[in-house]
């Protein structure tokens, strides 16, 4: 039967990546100055072992070969033959990266970078070699040599057949083995004659059905390798006495001494060198840190076409669908012969339907939710590597890893977070010396925390470093012409300056935080997720950056408004207030267009009917309609509409995917009556309105 193993590859890759993550976090947890927890090492070993087993089975031999050395090293660690030191741990960490790159390449159908692989393999072999020579030979090496028996058989075979004396010990049956199975297998090798020996048989009354009393003399005719013969007995060699002699050696069966059962590896072990790797030479000095920087850092988002969902969520979903079906059939029966006296029942049924639909919606949404640990998981490694690179002592704390966020958020929040963490490590947290001089603990602390509050996900990056220097920021902003020297700014406003395009506080760009992406990109990424970013700092005490994100990106709380015969949806979280404005408050300002004064602030007015060229709008004068004051990332404005209709949750349908991007519109939705309403994009609308008037 041919089974296509390729169907298991995806699962194999997924579990291997999980295994690598386990290895990585396990390795990071090892503190070389303290005794290691053997169970931790065991966990790491098991992960490596599974990857090796799987890769061998599914035909990724390069991976299994590479993992073999890793496994040997880990096995020495867990059996206490080797104490982990930083060099070994770093080398293992690098190998984990190397394996990950290899597997990623194979997943894409590419070839691994052989140079990297070879380098790590050499580094591991060097470590193994260094200590291995005097170490008692582990169970590993024998496997690489041809078994000693094979050599014997080359001398003895081909023989015209074999004479075998086989006497099972009492326990053979109790291991699930059966002499008949052995006979059947031997029969496949050649022509078999079986002669039982009843000598051991007790009196009938003393029979124990669980014990094998018989022994056999067997003659196997045909050209059979001795090793093939021994393979048949391999499982039972400890549960029986057996002896093999070539046929034609003129001896009677009784002379065959059962003691000469083959000893499988005593000989081979004595000859086997500790490993078959080349001598260490200077490979042992391979600078692992250097090797590490060479490997391609797999920071790019993994394209996750599949999603792993907790089975409980699926069960809940199925349960809800069941409820919905029951309600639907109940309503169907009600409707078949409906009379007005059943109105109560109908209303009850509809209420139930609404509840079930809402619950179903919630459980479907929860399927898209993933724990933020998917993102946080990469940071222990990042912090470990960076702090070593920077020579700083930093402790990372992860809080709220189980907080669930939308899958899209998980995919897109990683890069901004990495940037924030890098910044914090590079500029925020001081060196140990600086910290001690400032009267702080030697080790800096970085906290990544996620939690849910009032329909939002909040992710915080906090450090106890030197904090932001408001004066320095201000001076820098003036120097870069971002603000006017005379401009009065609150502390908060000054901090927010770091999100301005082209602003960088570092005197010199380092390769850690100065990677060409600024904080403005971070902010833009977060805004594209519908979120916002806030910064708070105290000089000498630390900095706290909070990212606020919507719970889900697929559903939006919206306010529907009417303009002529059209209905538009304004995101509810953008709305500040709705007011009636008298035409007398209207001004025209060059470069901005129409504005109105609202409590000492002039806000631009966007007339939706004009921007979208809607004919038949009821209101043309401001006093006839309503102005909805909305806030976008670049400020506030007033949207002039005919009327407010109602608030509702709407499911966002992408225009980009179904049509093409339209400026000022972020998507569309289908209303209760089946008609389509467009969802307004506030920043886009502002730009559009300015162009409309001056373009």
């Amino acid at each position: 039967m041919a089974i296509d193993l390729a169907q298991f590859h995806q699962v194999f890759f997924e579990e291997s990546f999980e295994g690598l993550d386990v290895m990585e976090s396990g390795l990071l947890a090892i503190d070389c100055n303290e005794p290691v927890d053997l169970e931790d090492i065991n966990t790491i070993f098991r992960a490596a072992h599974s990857i090796k087993g799987g890769s061998g089975t599914f035909g990724f031999h390069r991976v299994s070969e590479f993992t073999h050395g890793l496994e040997t090293l880990l096995d020495q660690m867990r059996s206490g033959q080797r104490q982990p030191d930083q060099r070994v741990v770093d080398c293992l960490l690098g190998s984990v990266d190397c394996l990950r790159t290899m597997l990623e390449a194979m997943q894409q159908g590419d070839n691994a970078n052989d140079a990297d692989v070879a380098r790590y393999q050499a580094a591991i072999d060097a470590i193994l070699d260094q200590q291995n020579a005097p170490v008692s030979s582990a169970e590993e090496p024998a496997a690489h040599l041809p078994p000693a028996e094979a050599v014997n058989s080359a001398v003895e075979s081909p023989s015209s057949g074999w004479r075998i004396a086989f006497s099972p010990r009492a326990q053979l049956l109790q291991r699930g083995n059966d002499p008949v199975r052995i006979f059947r297998e031997l029969d496949e090798l050649g022509e078999l004659e079986v002669a039982p020996d009843f000598i051991g048989l007790p009196e009938f009354g003393e029979f124990d059905p669980e014990i094998c009393y018989l022994s056999w003399r067997l003659e196997l005719a045909g050209t059979v390798d001795r090793s093939a013969l021994e393979d048949v007995f391999a499982w039972v060699e400890d549960d029986c006495d057996f002896a093999i002699q070539p046929l034609g050696a003129a001896q009677s069966c009784t002379d065959v001494s059962p003691q000469v059962s083959p000893e499988p590896s005593a000989e081979s072990e004595a000859v086997a060198p500790a490993t078959d790797a080349p001598p260490a030479k200077d490979t042992s000095d391979v600078d692992v840190a250097k090797v590490k920087t060479v490997k391609a850092k797999a920071d790019k988002p993994k394209s996750a076409a599949t999603i792993r969902v907790d089975t409980q969520k699926i069960d809940h979903l199925i349960n809800m669908v069941g409820e919905l079906v029951i309600t639907q059939s109940m309503l169907g029966m009600l409707g078949e012969n409906f009379t007005l006296d059943k109105l109560d029942a109908l209303q009850n049924g509809l209420a139930q339907l609404e509840r079930h639909t809402r619950e179903l919606q919630e459980s479907v949404m929860s399927v898209r939710m993933m724990p933020i640990s998917f993102v946080f998981g990469r940071f222990p490694r990042l912090v470990h590597d960076l702090s070593a690179q920077l020579g700083k002592k930093i402790e990372l704390k992860l809080i709220g890893e189980q907080t669930e966020v939308d899958k899209t958020v998980v995919e897109l929040i990683a890069d901004p977070l990495v940037h924030l963490v890098r910044n914090s490590l590079d500029h925020g947290i001081e060196t140990s010396v600086e910290r001690v001089n400032a009267g702080k603990s030697e080790t800096g602390q970085l906290i990544l925390e996620a939690y849910q509050r009032s329909g939002q996900i909040i992710i915080e990056v906090k450090d106890d470093g030197r904090g932001l220097n408001a004066d320095k920021l201000r001076a820098k902003a003036i120097e870069k012409n971002l603000i006017d020297p005379q401009q009065q700014l609150t502390q908060q406003q000054i901090y927010e300056l770091i999100f301005a395009p082209g602003f960088s506080t570092a005197e010199a760009l380092t390769d850690i935080s100065g990677r060409g992406v600024g904080m403005d990109v971070v902010r833009r990424n977060i805004q594209s997720l519908g979120g916002s970013i806030h910064i708070d700092s105290e000089q000498g005490q630390g900095t706290r950056i909070a990212i606020h994100l919507p719970l889900t990106l697929a559903i939006l709380d919206g306010q529907s408004v009417a303009v002529g015969h059209e209905t538009y949806i304004i995101p509810l979280n953008a709305i500040i207030e709705s007011i009636n404005v008298d035409d007398s408050k209207l001004n025209r300002v060059a470069g901005v267009g129409e504005t109105f004064k609202l409590r000492e602030e002039y806000l631009p007015i966007v007339r939706l009917q004009r921007v979208f060229a809607i004919s038949g709008a009821k209101a043309s004068k401001l006093s006839e309609g309503l102005v909805v004051v909305v806030e976008g990332p670049e400020g506030r404005c007033g949207l002039f509409v005919d009327d407010l209709l109602g608030q509702q949750q709407v499911v966002i349908k992408s225009l980009d995917a179904n049509y093409r991007p339209v400026e000022g519109i972020s998507g569309a939705t289908i209303l209760g009556d089946g008609s389509v309403a467009l969802i307004l994009d506030i920043p886009g609308l502002l730009r559009l309105s300015v162009r409309e008037q001056y373009g």
Binding site: M1, I3, L5, Q7, F8, H9, V11, F12, E15, T43, F45, R46, H49, S50, K52, G53, G54, G56, T57, F58, S64, H68, E139, E140, A142, A143, L173, Q174, R175, G176, N177, D178, V180, R181, R184, E185, E210, A234, W235, D238, D239, P264, S265
Partner: protein, 120 residues
Amino acid sequence: MARILTVDDSSSMRQMVSFALSSAGHQVVEAVDGVDGLNKAKSQTFDCVITDVNMPNKDGISLIKDLRALPNYKFIPLLMLTTESGADKKQAGKAAGATGWIVKPFNPDQLLKTVQKVLG
């Protein structure tokens, strides 16, 4: 056809074993570690158990030992999946009462042949 329990913490291996055996008409139950395996073996009956060796919670050797001590599993074939380097594992498995082993890496045909062999 036989009822077979496969115990492995790696889901790809589990799926492969399970797929190969059920393609050959066997009824297969999967367990994710030794503890899960022991529980399933206690609550159901099987004609054969195939277990991985290195697993969290309870490893394959300890599982085999526990199974062998159960009256229902005294004579049932218990096979372990082990790597070519695991000579000591084979010994430990035998001492615990394993019937035999299948050496990793193996292909579905080798697996089926061995299972067929012990099922008779």
